[in-house]
Symmetry: D3
Subunit: 185 residues, 6 copies
Amino acid sequence: MSYYLSLPVTDDIALVQPTLNMSEAIFSLLDSDRQHLGTFLDFVDLTNKVEDETAYLKMKLTGVANGTDYLFLIHYKGQLAGTIDLHFIDTKNQKAEIGYWIHSSFTNLGITTLAVHKVCEFGFNHLDLNKLTIVADTENQPSNKVAIKSGFTLVSTEKEDVFIHGAFRDMNRYSLLKSNFKAKK
Amino acid sequence: MSYYLSLPVTDDIALVQPTLNMSEAIFSLLDSDRQHLGTFLDFVDLTNKVEDETAYLKMKLTGVANGTDYLFLIHYKGQLAGTIDLHFIDTKNQKAEIGYWIHSSFTNLGITTLAVHKVCEFGFNHLDLNKLTIVADTENQPSNKVAIKSGFTLVSTEKEDVFIHGAFRDMNRYSLLKSNFKAKK
Amino acid sequence: MSYYLSLPVTDDIALVQPTLNMSEAIFSLLDSDRQHLGTFLDFVDLTNKVEDETAYLKMKLTGVANGTDYLFLIHYKGQLAGTIDLHFIDTKNQKAEIGYWIHSSFTNLGITTLAVHKVCEFGFNHLDLNKLTIVADTENQPSNKVAIKSGFTLVSTEKEDVFIHGAFRDMNRYSLLKSNFKAKK
Amino acid sequence: MSYYLSLPVTDDIALVQPTLNMSEAIFSLLDSDRQHLGTFLDFVDLTNKVEDETAYLKMKLTGVANGTDYLFLIHYKGQLAGTIDLHFIDTKNQKAEIGYWIHSSFTNLGITTLAVHKVCEFGFNHLDLNKLTIVADTENQPSNKVAIKSGFTLVSTEKEDVFIHGAFRDMNRYSLLKSNFKAKK
Amino acid sequence: MSYYLSLPVTDDIALVQPTLNMSEAIFSLLDSDRQHLGTFLDFVDLTNKVEDETAYLKMKLTGVANGTDYLFLIHYKGQLAGTIDLHFIDTKNQKAEIGYWIHSSFTNLGITTLAVHKVCEFGFNHLDLNKLTIVADTENQPSNKVAIKSGFTLVSTEKEDVFIHGAFRDMNRYSLLKSNFKAKK
Amino acid sequence: MSYYLSLPVTDDIALVQPTLNMSEAIFSLLDSDRQHLGTFLDFVDLTNKVEDETAYLKMKLTGVANGTDYLFLIHYKGQLAGTIDLHFIDTKNQKAEIGYWIHSSFTNLGITTLAVHKVCEFGFNHLDLNKLTIVADTENQPSNKVAIKSGFTLVSTEKEDVFIHGAFRDMNRYSLLKSNFKAKK
């Protein structure tokens, strides 16, 4: 039985509220999949011990207190599979950016797409946002697929937008307006 | 349909994760029941406008980021009925104090006792605490009943412990150890 | 004779380092052109007294100390005409965004385009940035012209990106890479 | 001759105002009596070099500036013998907790009991507090004796209240009301 | 009987450690002597209500925690007569500046000179300072006399050094080295 | 060609606005002249790696944001030769102190005197200060000459004012009033 605060996505998938004492579990998951996750996500190289993850959780939870962030853990059949978050929450302009990662052992199950859809509901209906954005490395095929399957529209390809592993990478920017999200349902 | 992160207590009762944009709803609930709530709870007199409640939420959410607080909203049949929280969370000594209030229109339904029981589960099993404490004004009969019905033991009556409405009030201190909580189930 | 630290653009135009005691002059300029400037720039409505401008200058100068901002005054023939800045300076990814405004009595003189070009030089050659971005309201023709004349490329039109005067506005995003800036000279 | 600010207790005993440059003396005293002091006091294991003591003094003096703490050194015949403090000072509810430790070479002289009595005078008459509390490990006989000899009443035994040296310890809570303190004199 | 921490100067005079709850008494004293004190002391015009004095005390007590300040109240026959402090305490260069004010009803009794002498002892012997400085408006005869009678040497007259009541004032700077202070005794 | 914000002093000399990414250049200059600079300047011994210089720049730029500091680099024929700054800027009393150092390979060219004169113009005319002060070790002949040649008047010799390399040093204090600076031109 679970004692987490959570938002059910399907019978198998839930978005879970993280607490500080979960940093070890998150770190272990990430640490066991460095090569897969680190290819396109720059924070992986900066997370080298549990304390780094604890500091990250503190930063994100402080963002919740300031209204700029909202981090969820993705649970699949009761197991921690990845994280998904809203960041750059801008209440004045009613927009935010969605970020996510999932461990390689949980890919190809459609988990992330369903999680993104639930976070869109949370952002549009509960936080009253008007627009959500996803940014994905142009070569990160799974991440681009998630954006497209979640109903986001490609807005631009940002050239040389992120510097990672010694090179500039191009990023695709996708966005979804509340009006389009509603129409689709 | 709900988009809140929550921890179900029964089919009707849930503990819900608050976000900053809920401060207006919490303030309205509290503001409509000042006389009842203000008799024994000193924060009521300090909460006079929505901004006070927003500041309180920010303070509590900052406490989550620091690992010292955990605030839940109590929902009954989808309606906001009150709040319950863990404060003074002390990870070194593995203990915390539980506080709660419920609107007068939701009393006598056993909601608070069930909520306390769930928060005990959350504290003992998820946060790995060893002891929980409840402090109740000696004349606040409903609050004392909740403590007793939740399995807490009266530890002491603290004389002249809180100064409210111009007078010192005596407070009952109850506590519950994890070992006793487990034995009871 | 001038005692300001400045970066000459042409014989008539200079970028000048602001100090706190200039807030009154900046406020007066902005205050005398509210209708023109406020149409597309949301900070105008938030700047209602000299103290607001002083607070803004402090924030920007603190950004200089943190390496995230660089604000210049635009002087034309020794007179304050507007401001131009680098913000969101991201040293890891070597990019930043350029913002600018100019008083209506100084428009149509090509001042802003020349100022943008000089800030590009400053950003690419002195701060070693790799990419610069300009964001302009799709209906703000002068601002779009400045971006295009300065050699920036339209990357996207961001739908409903800014909420101003009670409505969402679409924004054009332009960018310029260091490699393209150099090739052009 | 002494240049300290102090509050005389008897001809031999004085409460002395600490300054930052006394941290070395306090550390040496504590460091020379680790086994005795560390049995029941958890801060001893956390104080391993002069800088730890300086940081502690800074924290306590900041507490004085905020009105939450008041730390005194205990001098016996001009020698540093221990410390005594008021912490958790709560001006709204007019209460505080007293803590103390004394070097083993100064025990059995009644010093601490006299110091506690003087701190009670200071708290009740100068800081206008209404209630003072002492918390002592149930097996720390000297500390319990001090509380009782100082006229405090046992209010409760708090089970498993402090985690030290790998085990939970029970704590006795004593309290003294201003009305009882005055009646006794 | 007094419960203050104090440093006796003579049978009648004592330096007393201030606490936050003394701000009302200090404000009343200062407020009853505005014309006399405000002529040469610029902080008088900035202290218009008890809260200003409380904020000042907090600032000074924070200075104690940081090792940069030390404020004493001057008591004469048990009555608050004024204040004296060490500020700009510079432990690297072992120097500080002394400031003082006394209510007009306590002047011509030699109180301040004796208080300065005691603060010199405190600074040289307890805080291990090497040099103390006094700065006095050239027209503030009592203050200049105190400096001279306390054995300080005039070092310079600083032209237009302080701006008060709409005009620049010249200030005399006096200093006293530890070596000279000791020789004199 | 240069992209720095600067204030020209002569055809060869300019005061340049520092940015954080210049810390390496400043550190290298200082590091290559430790013996010469460290004799009289205490910060030299505290600057042992580029990060120390970066921290110093951050502190000074934060001072700009607070209105208490203004740091310039001294460029000679396009090369970094030293720094000059206004510190202790006191807008209430309209005064500040000037500090400077120049690498030994750039001495005897009159650079510092011209830089001081320009900083006086900046301080008196742009920042509206009324008095500027220079403090120089009595044995630091070049620094004393700069003060005198710049029109400053010796106000005092401060005995044992700075503790450096294990000994107290006497310091000459020079000052210049705006009225005298203007009269001289």
